[in-house]
């Protein structure tokens, strides 16, 4: 189907021939095609006066011309469209010489993007997130205490819930506060489109007008240098004015790849808190809360079983819980423990069984070394380093015993392994490059 704008333009050309020039400029200049639906063509007009006149005076003419171009059109409706420019009826007043006055900070029709579903009422606090929670509460009491507040943790652990909860509570406390919740993707897109349309100043102005700025998933900033620069300046403005900024990410800022150092140091100057995986007790608490929320009762042993066996993140826990609910709904009864076991078996990701050899292979590959070199008794510096990192990761991430690591590494003594692990462990604290390497290896292993 033809685009409504073009259709309307051609109709206008035809009408121009029929009506006088003065009539045309007055009545048709500021109209535009809006949409065409079920044979009804919608024409956007500036205001009620136009609608009234077009529908009483020109309706037949318009319909006739429209039908000539699109035989599907059965009727025309006129809608008042805000996008249509309203013709200026009086000569434009000359703007008076405004001195360099501070404009009042006002915004027009803003949206904070906060999801009202995320509140502190349904936020489960456990040892895994209590520090983050109390930092959030402190921020709520005294915005700007920890600036920025940086929350990081793996996916599905409630980062978004926490930071949106802070935003929502702030809004309850002060309904007039201007909060913006955004994520990196949106911010970047906004920035790019501002660049394209040459509206960078209004972009800056818009973001600087908020009282609280919450940005989710900033790990995606990596490599986006200009966006980072913009965020850097934005953050400085907020910081100078003592307005709260909250970030979340899946990594500690120091380990976010491709993040500029000046931004890293800014991110680190406030409070950095991690949310870890919920431990067994918290998982039970979360499941109980879910039961209450949905008003259902599930046997304690079933919940216990789920909490015991689903060790992953909260989202996985929710997934299992929802499946359980759906099953109960279908069967119209509670599930017994056997059925639950079956259910969980199908739903849980099998625990990853990575062999030691695979890990070593990956690490050797990462350092561009031949795998066999790791096992050899050589003391070449780069090989030693790779070997030590491998031992460290095997120990830290996979909890393999020191003697076993020693055996796998070409028959080394377990004390050698202990030494290597300790060495890397201390070096990681100070050597950011090494820390980054390890982070990269970990992400390679986890995929």
């Amino acid at each position: 189907m033809q685009d409504v704008q073009t259709t309307w333009q051609t109709v206008l050309h035809d009408l121009e021939l029929v009506v006088s020039k003065a009539m045309f400029t007055t009545w048709f200049k500021n109209t535009h095609g809006v949409k065409s639906e079920d044979g009804i063509f919608f024409v956007g007009v500036p205001n009620e006066f136009y609608r009234e006149w077009l529908s009483t005076k020109f309706h037949k003419e318009i319909l006739k011309n429209l039908r000539a171009h699109d035989e599907h059109v059965r009727n025309v409706e006129y809608v008042i469209s805000k996008t249509a420019p309203i013709p200026s009826m009086s000569p434009k007043p000359q703007p008076t010489m405004q001195a360099k006055e501070l404009p009042l900070e006002m915004s027009v029709g803003r949206r904070d993007n906060l999801n009202p579903k995320y509140t502190f009422d349904n936020f489960i606090i456990g040892p895994f997130n209590e520090v983050a929670y109390s930092a959030g509460q402190a921020t709520l009491r005294n915005p700007g205490t920890y600036n920025p507040l940086f929350i990081y943790g793996a996916t599905g652990l409630g980062k978004t819930h926490l930071i949106q909860g802070i935003g929502n509570s702030m809004k309850i406390k002060n309904p007039n506060i201007n909060i913006l919740y955004t994520n990196t993707e949106k911010f970047t897109n906004d920035y790019v489109s501002a660049l394209q349309t040459n509206k960078i100043n209004s972009f800056k102005e818009k973001y600087r007008s908020y009282d609280v700025f919450i940005m989710d998933d900033i790990q995606f900033l990596s490599g986006r240098d200009k966006t980072q620069e913009e965020l850097f300046h934005l953050f400085n403005t907020f910081f100078d004015k003592g307005r709260q900024v909250i970030f979340s990410s899946d990594k500690h800022p120091n380990y976010i790849q491709g993040l500029e150092d000046r931004l890293k140091s800014r991110l680190s100057q406030g409070m950095i808190i991690d949310i870890s995986k919920p431990e067994y007790e918290s998982r039970i608490a979360i499941l109980n809360a879910k039961c209450r929320e949905h008003g259902i009762a599930i046997a304690h042993e079933v919940l216990d079983f789920i909490a015991m066996h689903v060790e992953g993140n909260i989202r996985e826990l929710e997934g299992i819980f929802n499946t359980l609910m759906a099953q109960m709904d279908v069967k119209k009864r509670e599930l017994n423990i056997q059925e639950v076991k079956l259910l969980i078996k199908n739903n849980i990701k099998p625990k990853k069984n990575v062999s030691v050899e695979d890990i070593i292979k990956t690490i050797a590959h990462f350092y561009n070394l031949d795998e066999s070199l790791i096992y050899e008794k050589t003391r070449r510096k780069e090989i030693v380093r790779a070997r030590q990192v491998a031992m460290y990761i095997l120990r830290e991430d996979f909890s393999i015993s020191f003697p076993l690591i020693g055996r796998k590494m070409g028959g080394r003594d377990h004390t050698t392994v202990i030494h290597s692990c300790d060495k890397i462990k201390t070096e990681v604290q100070t050597d950011t490059e090494l820390a980054q390497e390890i982070e990269q290896i970990r992400s390679m292993l986890s995929t």
């Binding site: 007055t26 205001n47 006066f49 009234e52 006149w53 006055e101 006002m106």
Partner: protein, 366 residues
């Protein structure tokens, strides 16, 4: 068309409606006044497609019909009429002939069929409001609205209901005026943005009518009506800025001055003010010093020691004196208070003992 009516009524109606007609338009018919003679009335109508008005006056109609003549022309003629004798209107060929006891004028008419109809606002939620309060509420703030069309939201007066009060707000981002008017039981006045461009005409016409007026509001249009009057205006779409959050809640420095004194001082400041209307205001309550200074590199400099009650912390700020004097028209109290929080934050102007009017002025940069 052939009709007779009281000269007085005709003159008044034309005078009220004449300015509504459009000026400098591509379509000449919009610069016309439309007159329709029906069974026992003359319906007189004008519009510029932003605002439309219609006034009905009683008449003895012997032949029904319609005519459209230049508003400017008719305005000039009407203002020259005098006496209370009846006036007759008659169309002949393309002319409108206006006859009084002593005079006869023939006016070229336009094609009345081309005259736009006025949109009728139909709603079940119409309500009555007292004209006096409505007009004074709007006039208390409308001067503070932005004059340019760039941001249509603030080139409007914002109206909303707060309990039994109607709140009027206008701002141009440099100053802001808020007036609360008790209107009693207005059932549900929706939030609207009334374009400031139309406000002059609306209030001018309304203020000539006594009592109350019926207000009907639909999404994009508002209408004021009674038996003899119908005014309709478009409404600005969009949201008004959330101004409540910028209202200062505390004050660190306060100055109270007699309104008359302030007016005199501002008048004298005017002599030396530059094109930015700047005055420097220095307040030091501890040493009981308060001065206003204006200077102009061409004419000179003036300093006034202000006699006023001062309290709070010392402050030194620069303001646009025109913004201050604008607000005084809306203050009926004898004394005016200025309160400040910080040098670069808004100053609040209020009438002492009058909580209904609040005015914010931003200081100027130095």
């Amino acid at each position: 068309m052939k009709a007779e009516c009281l000269l007085e009524n005709f003159k008044k109606a034309i005078g009220q409606i004449e300015k509504v007609a459009g000026k400098n338009l591509t379509l000449p018919i919009l610069g016309a006044i439309y007159i329709q003679a029906d069974a026992s009335h003359l319906i007189i109508r004008a519009t510029n497609l932003n605002i439309g008005a219609e006034i009905i006056i009683p008449a003895k109609v012997s032949e029904q019909g319609i005519v459209a003549v230049s508003a400017q022309l008719l305005g000039q003629i009407a203002s020259g009429l005098s006496g209370d004798a009846p006036l007759s209107l008659e169309t002949e060929n393309d002319n409108l002939i206006i006859k009084t006891k002593r005079s006869k004028m023939t006016l070229k008419s336009m094609n009345a069929d081309d005259f736009p109809t006025l949109p009728r606002v139909v709603t079940d939620n119409a309500f009555e409001i007292p004209i006096d309060q409505f007009v004074s509420g709007i006039r208390s703030v409308s001067y503070a609205a932005a004059t340019s069309d760039i941001k249509p939201e603030i080139a409007s007066v914002y109206l909303y209901q707060d309990g039994d009060q109607l709140v009027f707000v206008a701002t141009d981002a440099f100053r802001l005026a808020e007036k609360k008017v008790k209107v009693g039981n207005v059932s549900e006045f929706p939030e609207i943005l009334l374009p400031v461009k139309n406000i002059g005409e609306i209030t001018r016409i309304l203020s000539e009518f006594p009592g109350t007026i019926k207000v009907s509001i639909v999404e994009n249009q508002i209408a004021f009506s009674n038996e003899t009057l119908y005014i309709t205006s478009r409404l600005t779409g969009g949201n008004y800025p959330n101004y409540r959050q910028i209202m200062p809640k505390e004050s660190k420095t306060e100055l109270i001055i007699l309104k008359g004194d302030l007016q005199n001082i501002l008048k004298s400041m005017l002599v030396f003010s530059d094109k930015f209307n700047q005055i420097d205001l220095i307040i030091n309550p501890a040493e009981k010093i308060c001065t206003m200074t204006s200077r102009n590199s061409d004419t000179g400099e003036g300093v006034v020691n202000v006699e006023a009650a001062l309290s709070g912390a010392a402050i030194d700020t620069r303001l646009n004196h025109k913004y201050i004097s604008d607000s005084l028209q809306s203050i009926s109290a004898d004394s005016v208070s200025f309160s400040f929080t910080e040098p670069n934050r808004a100053m609040v102007v209020k009438g002492v003992g009058d909580p209904s009017f609040t005015y914010l002025v931003m200081p100027m940069n130095r």
